[in-house]
Symmetry: C2
Subunit: 346 residues, 2 copies
Amino acid sequence: MKRKVTLKQIAKELDVSVSTVSKALRNSKEISLDTRTKVQAFAKLYNYRPNNIALSLKNKRTKTIGVIIPEIVHHFFSKVISGIEQEANNRGYNVIIGLSNESFDKEVINIEMLANGSIDGFILSVAKETLLLQDYHHFYETINQGMPIVMFDRVVNEIACDKVVVDDKLGSKKAVAKLIDSGCKNIALITTKDYVNVGKLRTQGYLEALEEHKIAPKASLIIKVGENKDKDIEIETLEKEISALFEKEKDIDGIFAVNELYAISAMKIAIQKGYKIPEELSIIAFTDGVLSKHSIPALSTISQHALEMGKKSATMLIDKLEELVEEEKYQTEVINTTLIERDTTK
Amino acid sequence: MKRKVTLKQIAKELDVSVSTVSKALRNSKEISLDTRTKVQAFAKLYNYRPNNIALSLKNKRTKTIGVIIPEIVHHFFSKVISGIEQEANNRGYNVIIGLSNESFDKEVINIEMLANGSIDGFILSVAKETLLLQDYHHFYETINQGMPIVMFDRVVNEIACDKVVVDDKLGSKKAVAKLIDSGCKNIALITTKDYVNVGKLRTQGYLEALEEHKIAPKASLIIKVGENKDKDIEIETLEKEISALFEKEKDIDGIFAVNELYAISAMKIAIQKGYKIPEELSIIAFTDGVLSKHSIPALSTISQHALEMGKKSATMLIDKLEELVEEEKYQTEVINTTLIERDTTK
């Protein structure tokens, strides 16, 4: 039986990166002539079939949308997919999903695999590693070959394509303003390190809200959480930091966290230390997931409207596929966040 | 541009079901000759390309696994997919995912779409509607054409294929025995209606555990939750029932729930009513998800080892694809459950 050789196998065999193979097969001048020749010869010998979107597009429409997300055990991304599904099914399209697991190589491999005649266009949220490497050749080439991409949530600004984003800064300003309006004067922030763009924007929103209300920010009230591949360790470390924060800063009366898991961790420590919520301590989280809804007390949150984000992304992609909008005209849709008041705010 | 007509469009156009179209295209004698002729003529006219697995198998291996799950906003299924991904990637395979949304038609459409040359084999959990209709022709035909299927969790016993299941009955016996051993004498059960097979097995486990400990079951201690498409309404209704149960049965000292959301709902009402957990009331849930881990107090659970289930499913499929096991030899792997003791049990 003839087996198809994959991009990854070629990379492994020739001891180069997947990206190099991908570029070499497209004869990119970024790659040395020597490497290009080697990769191309190997691919030919082992029957690698390069992506040929343009050709497949001329022949057929698959009525299928490819979705690539960075993570699957994640309420936000699964909600977005539900939204994409609903809208796509309404309009007679199927959806297939690939996972990048935050890896650049896996993102490239998934795009290769799906673009190879299986789908009509992509909806995707960019992997963290891709954003770090800033290597976007796979997106450019997909678009250049006539296959539309809609990016959501984690987008690349400089790529000309349709985008659906959330106003992260405004959302967190809303949350912090609510805390201030209900009487909080010492509001702690639990956020990510700055290289995560979403966390950075939410931190900015916190700072701007304080400034607008003439409250001086205090560095000692801000925890920037270091990411860990093992989420359990990340949360354990965070809980120690939160505990130390409560010990040092006795007058904390509000907490704003950039995601619900951080907020739940803070709430757990606060309850252990005997704080009355919301009477003595108010808490708001960004992202309205299943934890917020079912925690006891139920957590007040900023909702990103993941379902709507999915529906909007599907609408934009299908409108483009069905030529209801001009091919060369790109839009960025901003989804408005909403404050959902539950039992952790006054 | 020539657009490919889909199974769904043919069904709509001829006013028959997707299943009828699928069977008619395969010339199944279940369908009247008249309908078969009509469907086949229509499909030919509009260029429908029937699934041709056997042909594609002869030509290539895609090194891709197709996964079909009933729901995506569901911690258990997304964890299983993580497990499949990990094992598949280790062995050089990619994974693409389709959703049935518990619908028979969507399951048939997804199998058609993916089997059409995109993948080498399937890992899937059967949609509720398919189990109700007991129409399994799409599975039989996929297998008959030489494409292997591994079923996990929700399986069809009479289909000859590899399966990975959890011992639901034994798992719930473990939970209830733990409650009894720690002194509970009046244990309530929150379960689903009996047509959901998993719920039924877990209910049996509860009853057997009581019997083995010479405790007579009381119908008044059992709540069978009616499913609702709107989860919020389902949970609201349940909370009222739980509240009424506490009013009527004052001596409840233990609760076993067949999933974590039911358990969290019970815990919420119990806390409102002033019960001390676990001193006065112990709670255990089946399914160890994100809610159990982060609830306050953290919930004791029966873990189904979703990650392991996914890894095992991928191992079984890939072993078959790579001819490491005999094609005609099928196995059913039972994953053992584990009791995870947290803060809701003594």
